[in-house]
Every structure is written in structure tokens, then in C-alpha cells.
Amino acid sequence: MTVTLIMLALVIAGALAWRAETYWQGSAKWLALISLALLATVFAVFVIDYAINHNNDFAQLQVLSRVNWIKTFNIQYSIALDQLSIVLIALTWLLAIICALVSWHEIKRHVGFYYFNLLLTIAGIIGVFVAVDMFLFFFFWEVMLLPMTAIIAIWGHEKKHFAALKFFIFTQVSSLLMLVAIIATGYFHLLQTGQLSFYYLDWLMLDIPLSMSQYLMLGFFIAFAVKLPSVPLHSWLPDAHTQAPTAGSVLLAGVLLKTGAYGLIRFVIFLFPQASTQFAPIAATLAVVSIIYGAKMAFAQQDFKRLVAYSSISHMGFVMLALFAFNSMAYQGAIVTMVAHGLSSAALFSLAGMIYQRIHSRNLADMGGFWQSAPRMGGFALAFAGAAFGLPGLANFIGEFLSLVGVFQVLPEFAVIAALGLIGSAIYGMVLFQSSFQGTPTQDIIDLQPRELIICGSLLLMLLAIGLYPMLLLKFSFGA
């Protein structure tokens, strides 16, 4: 119940912020920030309280509410939490607050409506992570998508309409496949048990013949592979990330991509274990290609945000590779990578936004030598680039190392090729850092302001905490 109220409260707070901005200028951002912080606290308290009261560590899915929604089709409003969704929701809260902070001075037009969209997206994302009725899941999947498209289309950069359209079409087409798969699986449930059901826990009991589950699995897989994204379905991402406003990029890279990974775990691997094992060689190949290809493409970019966007493809390749190794170590590595990449890419995109606000360009050729005038920013940039190229001591290293150790036990050749991605990431990381902060100073910029220091500092602290003490995350098994 509480989780439902939290989502509802997010929508209401968004609407309030929208209205309030028309009366008091500058109130929307405060309202958004405060409600996010408050609701995040409520969520944390709820989870802890639940864990203590029920003496439960969320190792299994804990169904929180189950209400009939559309009776004819036995569609229910059912939501549940487990360790996996809690970690991802926690990441969502953190990045949501970061998003509110990075938008502080950046958004100048339709401010109220902007925060409404932001909060609506976040409500949708949380819905995606908690829904255990597949129809409801699909509903939230769409709720998350629409305001996100609006954020890109209204507050984006010069090619925003194109990017928003591309993002929308890619996601829509792929989620159509998922819808077909959902309906087909529900119908299969009817055939097998005599009752239509879209309830995830019912589906887990299903015994689907392999010949059929292959196709169902593929329907889900494609939808999530687009979201993740995996080569060759990745090309919406560089455009969307580049054109979105900073908060949009942070949210896209930090959380939206993780919904793809989450879907792969929950709805591809757990629902269709046999079919996905059979599919693993193809998925792993795609993943390895994504790692190398993403790193190579990142190196070719001249646009700060586009470079980071391609690096995301490379990193998410590690996640997919680890998931399709079917190894508990690799699985844990995938989850750490998801969180770590969420933090590090959010940090790099925030940094890109801060630079853009100062020089009104994302082009690396316009940058250079910023270290001179903005040493603090340079230090953070180095640390975040370091996280991206897997510097030990920061979170990404743990994720990638665990993934590789796990994958190596199952698919050693794939692990070796994926490890070559470490070289590729060093190359683009160097290019990114050196062409913006080293070299002959082109112009002087203002160093980090207190608000920006809070953003960068908190992200770096999280990266360091997970990098140095990963047991924070690893003590959970995530239902493996």
C-alpha cells in the first residue's frame, strides 16, 4: 500500500509543482526536490520497517498488494518487492534527487511542466520495478516512456524532435513485441490451467514447451535488448542521450537502461530459463560485440555526451554478458555493474551539463585546459572517467571484475574478448578527460559551485563506497 501511495504522491507532487510554478516562480524545483527527498525517506523507512516486522530480508518476492483491476481478463494491480527491485529503486531515488539538482538552473522554459514530467517518469520507473502483473508492468513501461519523450522533445538540444521521435519509435516498436509476448503467455496460461492470468508468480509455475517458449522469450528479449541497449538495436541511445537535457540523460543512462537489464533478469531469464540458456550463445555474442563496438564508437566521438552515451553501450554489454553466463558470481557482478554504471554515467552526464552551461557547447574541440581554471571539476572528471574505465577502488571495477570472473568460468573466450574492452575504455576515457581538461587552456570557466559540488561529491562517495566496500551490495543474493 505504501509503495502505491508513494507513486501516487509523486504524480500529485508533480501536478502541484506544475500549478505552483504559475503562481510562485521557482517553487516547482523546491517542491520537486523536497517531495523526492521525503518520499525516498518514506520508502526507505517502509522497507526497513517491513524487513524488521516480517523478519524478512526480501530474498524472495514479497507481494505487497494484489487487487483486481480488470476482472474480465483477470488483470490485477499487484506489486511486490525483492532485493533486486529495492536496490534499483534506491538507485532511482538517488538519481532522481540528482536530476532535480542538475536541472536547477538549466531549465528555463515551462519549468513547472518539466518537473511534472520528471516526477511522472520517476513514478513510472518505480512502477516498472515493483509491478508483478505483466499487464501492469506494461502499463508502467509506457508511463515511464511518454514523459521521458516529452522531456527530450521539449527541453532538449538542437535536434530534440528527431531524437525524441527516434527514441519513441524504437521503444514503441519493441514494446509492441513484448505486448504480443505478454498476451501470448497469458493465453498459454489459459490453455494450461483453464484461467487467463498475467500474474508473474503464476507464470513462474508454467511449464511451457521449449518450442513455444523460445518465441515468447524472444519477444521479451528484443524489447529489453532495445532498452539496454545492445548492438545492433542501440542507435536510439546516442541521439536520445545527446539531445536530452542533462536530467534526461542522467535518468536515461542511470535508470532507464537498467529497466532493460531488470527485464532481462526477471522476465527473460527467470521466466524462460531453458529457452534463455539455449539462446545464451547469441546473447553473449551480442553482448561482447556491444562491449567492443561501444568502446570503439565512443572513441570516434567529438561530442562529450555522445561519447559517454556510446560508453554506456559498452558497459551495458558487460551486464548482458554476465546475465547470460548463468553464474551466480557473474549475476552479482551484473547487479554491481548496473548500480555502478548508473552512478558513473549519471556523474559524467551531470558534468557534461555543467560544462555545457558554462561554454554552451558539447564539442570536445571547443574544450581543453579546463583544469587550469576549474581544478575541482577536473578532479571529479578524472575520477568519473576513472570509474568508467574501471579503475580499481571505484564501483565499476568490482562489477566488471566479478562479471568477468563469473563469465570466465562458463564462457572463457567471451570473457577474454570482453576484457579487451578494458583497453577500449581506457582509450575513450583518456580522450574524454584529456581533450576537455588538459591541453592548452582555451577559455576560463568557473569552478564547481556548492550545488554542483554536492552532486559530484555524493556520486563520487557512492562510487568509492561500493568500490572499497562492495559488501554493501554483495551481502544480498538478489534471488540468484
Partner: protein
């Protein structure tokens, strides 16, 4: 006492944090005091630890800081802790790192005084020491890898310290990426190691490997799958070592790394970081011993690098690049020693080399400083009279480098050469390589000395030496260590106890071996005395000696590192850049956007039809009717 071990890297870490947090707000004096005194504390604690270690029972101290993470496979769970492990080998390393590191910090505090980013410089130096201490104290390979990458990052930052220069930026990038290639090889080695042993703890892996060897029996072991894995593990670790230690085939970054300030070259690119590869192999000797083929590769790589680098050093014009190539060749000696199974000798040479090479670099720095940043040997000359103090210290460094009898370099190099002839994994061929290397070493050393300190003064400006007492005392201590460091008793028998091998075939060593090894440097000196005489003599009145760097093709080829840069550029760098450039638009995106283009095409052509003019519609209408009628009649 355990607390002291745990705290060792934290002194420079605290200093780093303070310096970074306050940055330019710190005065020179305060920043220097903070960074140098943190190093002094490190030295003090290291000294106490050394004492503790010598009195402890099994000569091992270890302390667990915290539980990092677990790794698991079908064999069980391997715990990866942040845990420090101090034995004879790491004790040598921490004394070198903290001792030489302290002296270089002291030197740098004065040398870099005028730099506007002084506190940033000292902060990086401190951070480097932190990472290096973690590297040598790590009890498992993941923690070692953390230090390994950390020193790489600091090396990158310090090479590119004067980042406004494009060339420095590129040198830093090159160093980082080339070593990263080695690091990746090492990372893959770790994956394979964990898969084979289910452990990444160094001591545990060594024991497991040896148990497997004993259990299978030496003869059947060599054909087993595990032996094959060990072969690959050793080879992959070697890949990491050659990257960090600038050995063939990943040696190309080191000469360019001289773009960094001179104290950096002394600390990172001579005394400590570049010897990390040597440390890694020495640390993992238990694995390498089970892969004698790889030990043979190590020896050959070392020997080839040794020769290649000495030849390249002969052709350099930049004083720091001569020293860089010399470092490369001296590490070649260490590798040769490791490959031959002369573990203690290799580590011993690591230590003495740290002393005299740090001395050489720092003195070179003092000379460069005095000459207003002139690094070209052909623009020096005759400095003996103008900078007698620097000259004499440089000479001390050089005689150690040449391994003249009595100096520290002599003891360590002789210890290596003496074990080569009859080693299983080396042999007479490699012995001759080492001797040839010694000859070349003495020749390039003499050339360097003659060019810089003897002959006519070719520098236009008057040298102004820094006469600070602190700076000079740092140099003098290093000179004393270089001269007498060979007398430091280094007992590593406990560490390498597993490594004591009995040669399969006892080669009979000729009696002349030792005398040849001792005489060789003198032959080189004699040769240089005559061959380079126009470098050392002042021209007689009226005659003119040509003291210009030769521009012959072969000389240029050697000066540029024997073509490796060109080769790698053509083989790897250019194709990668080309690939990136060609596919900048992302071929997958273009294929997908073809759909959009196709839809757009229909959209545009259908719009053309709907142009709103009646004549068009009528004509189309008529045409269609005619067509339909025609079709139906036919």
C-alpha cells in the same frame, strides 16, 4: 605493531587529501612540510616494521584491514581481503619506496618550488606512494591490481603534469594506454588463475600450484591441464609485467614518459613503478617456477630489451632519454635474473638500481635546472668546472651504473651475471648478452659523461645551480647509498626457499667467467676514451671539432627506439583510428535509418501527388481511366 603495518599507506594518503582539499590556498612552505613530513613518517614506520620483521618468528607480518569481497567457483569460495602482507621481499620494496621516495620528495619540494601548481604536484607524488605501497603490501592479486592501476594513474597524471603542452598530454596518454594493454593481459591472467585454483591469495595460489605439482609428480604434471593453465597464467602475468616495466614488446612508452618533471622520472620511471613488473614476477615465483618455458621467455625478453635499450641509449641527444633507455636496459637485467631463477639477485639489483638511477635522474634534474631547462647533451659540455658538485655526483651514479668494482651496481650485477651461465632457464647465450649489455652500458655512460661534463662549454647561458642544503643533502644521501648500498645484507632465502633448484645438467663454468664480467666495463671505457675523444677534449686553437649530433639514418633509427613506434603506429594505432573515422556515423544506425529514409521517400512522393491543382487531378483521373479501360480490354 600490526597497527603500524596497517597504517603505512595512510600517512601519504592523508597528506594527499589535505593537499588536494586546500590546493593552491596552501603556501609553498606548508605544502612542502605536509608532504615531506608524511613521507618522513612513512620512512620511520617502515624502519620500525623492518626491525619488527627481523625479530618476528617466521619473518612474516600480516594484517587484515577489511573484507573486500568474495569470489566463488565450483571449487569453493576465495575470500578477497584488503590485507597487507610483509615478508622479506615486500620489506625490500617498502624500504626502497619509502626511503628513496622520501629523498625524492625532499628534492622535489625544492626543485618544484617555483611551479604554480606545487601542491598539486606533491599531492600526486603522495598518491603515487600510497598506490605503490598497496601494490607491494597486497596479500592477494586483486589488491595488488588496485595498486598496480593506481600507480599507473599517478604515472599518467605526473607525466602530463604540465598538461598545457600537447606533447606532454600525448606522452601521458601513450603511457597509460600502453601499460593498460599489459594490465589487461594481467587481468585475464587473474581470471584464469582464479578458475584454476579458486584463489587469488598469493600465498595460497603458490601453495596450491606446488601441491598440484607434487601430487601429480613432476613428470606427469607437465602434461596435465593444470600445468597448461599455469603456463598461460605465467605468460599473461608476464604480459602485465612487461607493460609496467617497459620491456619488449611494450617498452615504447617509457622514453616519452620523460615529458614529466624530473623528480617524477626519478621516482616513478626509474626507482619504483617501473620495477613493479619485476616485483610481480618475483612475488609470483612459485607459479613461474612451474612454467620453465615462461621463465626462459622472461630471460630472453630481458636480454633483448637490455641490448635494444642500450643501443638506443647510444644514439640519444636528450640527457633524460639516455637515462630512460638506461633504466629500460637495467630492468632488462632484472628480468634476465628472474628468468634465470636468480631471484634474490634480481631483487638486489632492483634495490641498488633504485639508488643510483634516482641519483642520476635527480642530478640530471639539477643540471637541467642550472642550465635553464636545457636537456640537449649537445648543448651542454664542460660542466665539470661550472658545476663540480653535480658532476661528481653524476659520476658516482655512472660508475654504479657501469658496475665498477666496489660500487653497489657491481655487487648486484655481478650476482646476476654469475648465475646466468649454469641456469636451467638461461645459459651461456644469455650470459654473453649480459656481457655485451655491460659493454654497451659503459660506452653510453662514457658518451653521456663526456658530452655533458667534459669538452667545451656549448651552453650559451651561465649555469646557475640551486645551492639549497636540503636538496644537496638528498643527493648526497643517495650517492652514499649508491656507493655503499651493495653492502646492505639482503637475505631473501626464506621468501625464495621454494625456488632453490638443482641444475639438471651441471654445466662446467669456465674459469674466465668472472674476470671477463669484471673487465668488460673497463673495455667499454677504454673504447669510449678514444672513440669519443672529440667529445671530451676541448678543441685546440685553430682546429674545429664537429660536435653535432649525427643525423645518419642508422643513428636516427636508433634514436627513435629502433622503429617500434613506427611499427605500432602502422599496425595498431592507425587502423584503429581509421576504423573509428570510417564508421563515425555508426553503420547500424545508418541501416536502421534506411527505413526512415524509405518511409520519408514515400511521404515526399505522395505529397507531390497532392499538390492541390485541379489540372493534375483531372489528368491523373483521366490517365487512370484510360489505363484501366486499356487493361480490361486487353
Amino acid at each position: 605493531m600490526i597497527v603500524l603495518l596497517a597504517s603505512l599507506p595512510f600517512y601519504p594518503l592523508v597528506s594527499f587529501l589535505v593537499l588536494i582539499a586546500f590546493g593552491k590556498r596552501l603556501s609553498w612552505r606548508l605544502a612542502a612540510i605536509i608532504s615531506v613530513s608524511s613521507m618522513a613518517l612513512t620512512v620511520l614506520v617502515s624502519a620500525i616494521l623492518l626491525f619488527e620483521l627481523s625479530t618476528s618468528q617466521n619473518q612474516v607480518l600480516s594484517v587484515n584491514l577489511w573484507h573486500w569481497f568474495d569470489l566463488s567457483n565450483q571449487m569453493g569460495t576465495g575470500v578477497v581481503n584488503v590485507r597487507f602482507y610483509l615478508d622479506g621481499l615486500s620489506a625490500v620494496m617498502i624500504s626502497v619506496v619509502s626511503g628513496v621516495g622520501f629523498l625524492i620528495h625532499l628534492f622535489a619540494a625544492i626543485y618544484m618550488k617555483a611551479d604554480t601548481n606545487f601542491s598539486r604536484f606533491m599531492a600526486y607524488m603522495n598518491l603515487f606512494i600510497v598506490a605503490m605501497l598497496i601494490l607491494v603490501l597486497a596479500d592477494n592479486l586483486v589488491l595488488l591490481y588496485l595498486g598496480w592501476e593506481g600507480v599507473g594513474l599517478c604515472s599518467f597524471l605526473l607525466i602530463g603534469f604540465w598538461y598545457q603542452e600537447k606533447s606532454n598530454v600525448l606522452a601521458a596518454r601513450k603511457a597509460f594506454i600502453v601499460t593498460r594493454i599489459g594490465d589487461t593481459s594481467m587481468a585475464i591472467g587473474l581470471l584464469l588463475m582464479f578458475n584454476t585454483f579458486g584463489e587469488l591469495n598469493i600465498a595460497a595460489v603458490t601453495t596450491l600450484a606446488q601441491q598440484a605439482n607434487i601430487a601429480a609428480g613432476p613428470s606427469s604434471f607437465s602434461s596435465s591441464e593444470q600445468a597448461n593453465n599455469i603456463y598461460w597464467i605465467a605468460l599473461l602475468l608476464l604480459g602485465g609485467a612487461v607493460g609496467k616495466s617497459a620491456q619488449l614488446p611494450l617498452q615504447t612508452w617509457l622514453p616519452d614518459a620523460m615529458a614529466g618533471p624530473t623528480p617524477v622520472s626519478a621516482l616513478i620511471h626509474a626507482a619504483t613503478m617501473v620495477t613493479a613488473g619485476v616485483y610481480l614476477i618475483a612475488r609470483m615465483h612459485g607459479i613461474f617456477l612451474l612454467a620453465p618455458e615462461v621463465m626462459n621467455y622472461v630471460a630472453w625478453l630481458g636480454a633483448l630489451t637490455l641490448l635494444l635499450a642500450s643501443v638506443a641509449a647510444l644514439a640519444q641527444t636528450d640527457i633524460k632519454r639516455v637515462l630512460a633507455y638506461s633504466t629500460m636496459s637495467q630492468i632488462g637485467y632484472m628480468m634476465l635474473a628472474l628468468g634465470a631463477g636468480a631471484w634474490s639477485a634480481g631483487v638486489f639489483h632492483l634495490m641498488t638500481h633504485a639508488f643510483f638511477k634516482a641519483l642520476l635522474f635527480l642530478t640530471a634534474g639539477a643540471v637541467i635546472y642550472a642550465l635553464h631547462h636545457q636537456q640537449n647533451l649537445f648543448k651542454m659540455g664542460g660542466l665539470l668546472k661550472k658545476l663540480p658538485f653535480e658532476t661528481s655526483l653524476f659520476l658516482v651514479g655512472l660508475i654504479c651504473l657501469m658496475a665498477l668494482p666496489g660500487t653497489s651496481g657491481f655487487f648486484s650485477k655481478e650476482a646476476i651475471i654469475a648465475q646466468l651461465w649454469s641456469s636451467n632457464t638461461a645459459g651461456p647465450m644469455l650470459w654473453w648478452c649480459a656481457i655485451l649489455g655491460a659493454l654497451l652500458t659503459s660506452i653510453y655512460s662514457c658518451r653521456l659523461f663526456f658530452l655533458a661534463f667534459l669538452g667545451t662549454a656549448r651552453c650559451t647561458e651561465n649555469p646557475q645551480a640551486e645551492k639549497s642544503l636540503l636538496l644537496r643533502s638528498a643527493l648526497i644521501i643517495l650517492a652514499l647509498l649508491s656507493l655503499f648500498g651493495g653492502l646492505i645484507p639482503l637475505d631473501l632465502t626464506l621468501v625464495f626457499s621454494a625456488a632453490i633448484q638443482t641444475p639438471l645438467v651441471q654445466l662446467i663454468e669456465p674459469t674466465w667467467l668472472h674476470s671477463v664480467a669484471i673487465i668488460t666495463p673497463f673495455i667499454g671505457m677504454l673504447f669510449s676514451w678514444f672513440y669519443f675523444q672529440n667529445y671530451r677534449l676541448s678543441p685546440l686553437k685553430g682546429t674545429k671539432y664537429n660536435i653535432e649530433a649525427s643525423e645518419g639514418k642508422i643513428v636516427l633509427f636508433c634514436r627513435q627506439g629502433l622503429g617500434f613506434d613506427v611499427f605500432y603506429n602502422a599496425l595498431l594505432v592507425k587502423p584503429y583510428q581509421w576504423l573509428a573515422q570510417v564508421n563515425k556515423r555508426d553503420i547500424f544506425d545508418q541501416i536502421i535509418m534506411l527505413n526512415a529514409w524509405y518511409v520519408g521517400l514515400w511521404h515526399d512522393s505522395l505529397i507531390l501527388v497532392q499538390n492541390g491543382s485541379l489540372r493534375w487531378y483531372l489528368a491523373a483521373f483521366g490517365l487512370a481511366i484510360i489505363l484501366l479501360l486499356g487493361v480490361s480490354f486487353l
